[in-house]
Symmetry: C2
Subunit: 227 residues, 2 copies
C-alpha cells in the first residue's frame, strides 16, 4: 500500500471521530477551543489566565496534551477546574480518538467552556482536528516574526492568533506589523490578540471575544435545533 | 498491516540511509552536526554565529530544513557559505533520504564542517537520525525550564544542549540549574553551553568545542582506516 494512502486513512479516520466529538460538545452545550503553539509559547499560561478571567462566570474544564509528564495538568488542577491529562508517549499531536477517550473523564454537561491544550508543535496538530469550535494559535515574541512563513498550515486555518509575551518587546526585534501581514496573507479573516500572560495586558479583550464567540455558537446550535 | 509495523519500517529504512550518509561524510572528511530545537529557539542564529566564528579557519556548509520558505537559507547564503534548502512541504522533521538528495548539491569534499538545521520541532526529529556525528539541541530561555520534562526524547540523546538567549535572563523566570538537572536526569553525559546569539556571549566556548570534537572525530576515522 503506498505511504500516502496510509496517511489519508489515518486523517479521514481522525476527522470522522472529530465530528463525533463535535456532536457530543454541541449536545452538552460546551464550547471548545483547541490551543496550539510551539513549545514554550505560553499555552498553559493562557489557560490559567483564561480560567482566572472567566471562572466562575463560565464553568471551565481543561484537557492537557503532552508527550510526557503531568506538570501542566498539575498547575491547572490547582485552580480547582476539572482537568484530564493525555500523554501521547512520543506522539507529536493530539488525535480525535485520544480526546474521545479523555472526554469520558470530564463532566461535559457541567461545563460551558473546554480548553484543549495541544502538544507543543507548530506543524502536525494542523492536520488533526479534534472536534473543537475554534482553533487558536499562540505565537510569542521571542520566536520571531517569520514563523508564519515557515509554518504556514497552522496559521492559515486558525480562527485566532494570540501574540503572547508582548512585555518582552523592548528586548527583541519582533516586527508586529510584518507578523500580522504574513498571517493575513495566509488567512485574511483571522482575529489577532496581543497579550502578556505575565502582566495581564490584553487579556480582557481575549476574554470578551471568548464570551461573544461562545454566545454566537450557542445561538447557532439553538437555531439549527429549532428548525 | 498493523500501524506500528509501518512505523518501524520507516524508521529502519531511515537508519539504513543515515548509515550511508555517515559513510559519505567520513570518506569526504567532513564533520556533521544536526541542530534541533523548537521553532524560534535560534538555530539559524547559531548557524550564522558559528560561520562567523570558524570561517575561514574551517570550510563550512549548511543544509536548511523547513516546512516551507527559504528565508533561513537566504540569510545563510549572504555569508557566502554553500547552502542547500530542503522544504519538507508539511513534514515535521528531516529524513535521511531527503538529506541524501540534498548532499548531491553540496561539495562535501571541499568542506570541513557541515551544519544541518532541522525543522523546528522538539519531538519528531529525535526518531530520524540523518548520519550526523553530533546531535545538538538548542533550548532558549523564553521557552521555560520545564521542556526536558515535556519533550524528553531529544534531550535524552543529545550530545550537547545549547541554552540560547541568556541575555533575556533578567526579564524572565528560567531556573538554569533546574533545567540542567532535568536534562542530566535523562542524559548524564551531555555537554552544556550557555550563549546569546544576540550579544555573542558564550560562543567562543562553543566554537572551541566544535574544533576539538571535529579533531577527535578525524583522528578516530584515521585510526580505524589505518587498521
Amino acid at each position: 500500500m503506498p505511504k500516502i494512502a496510509v496517511v489519508q486513512d489515518i486523517l479521514s479516520a481522525n476527522d470522522e471521530i472529530a465530528r463525533e466529538n463535535r456532536r457530543r460538545f454541541d449536545q452538552a452545550g460546551v464550547f471548545v477551543l483547541n490551543l496550539m503553539s510551539a513549545p514554550g509559547a505560553g499555552k498553559t499560561s493562557l489557560v490559567l489566565r483564561t480560567i482566572a478571567a472567566l471562572q466562575p462566570e463560565l464553568r471551565l474544564g481543561v484537557v492537557e496534551g503532552d508527550v510526557a509528564s503531568q506538570v501542566d495538568a498539575e498547575r491547572v488542577a490547582e485552580t480547582g477546574v476539572p482537568v484530564v491529562q493525555i500523554n501521547t508517549g512520543g506522539g507529536c499531536h493530539l488525535e480525535a480518538h485520544a480526546l474521545r477517550a479523555a472526554l469520558e473523564k470530564i463532566p461535559l454537561e457541567d461545563l460551558d467552556l473546554l480548553l484543549i491544550e495541544n502538544v507543543g508543535n507548530l506543524i502536525c496538530p494542523a492536520a488533526f482536528p479534534l472536534g473543537e469550535h475554534l482553533q487558536v494559535v499562540i505565537a510569542s515574541l521571542p520566536e520571531g516574526d517569520d514563523k508564519p512563513l515557515k509554518y504556514p498550515a497552522l496559521f492559515a486555518q486558525a480562527d485566532a492568533v494570540v501574540i503572547n509575551k508582548i512585555d518582552l518587546a523592548p528586548y527583541m526585534d519582533f516586527d508586529r506589523e510584518a507578523f500580522r501581514r504574513r498571517v493575513e496573507g495566509l488567512n485574511p479573516r483571522v482575529t489577532f490578540f496581543e497579550i502578556s500572560c505575565r502582566t495581564g495586558e490584553g487579556l480582557a479583550a481575549w476574554a470578551d471575544w471568548l464570551r461573544r464567540r461562545r454566545a454566537e455558537q450557542r445561538e447557532s446550535v439553538r437555531r439549527i435545533g429549532g428548525c
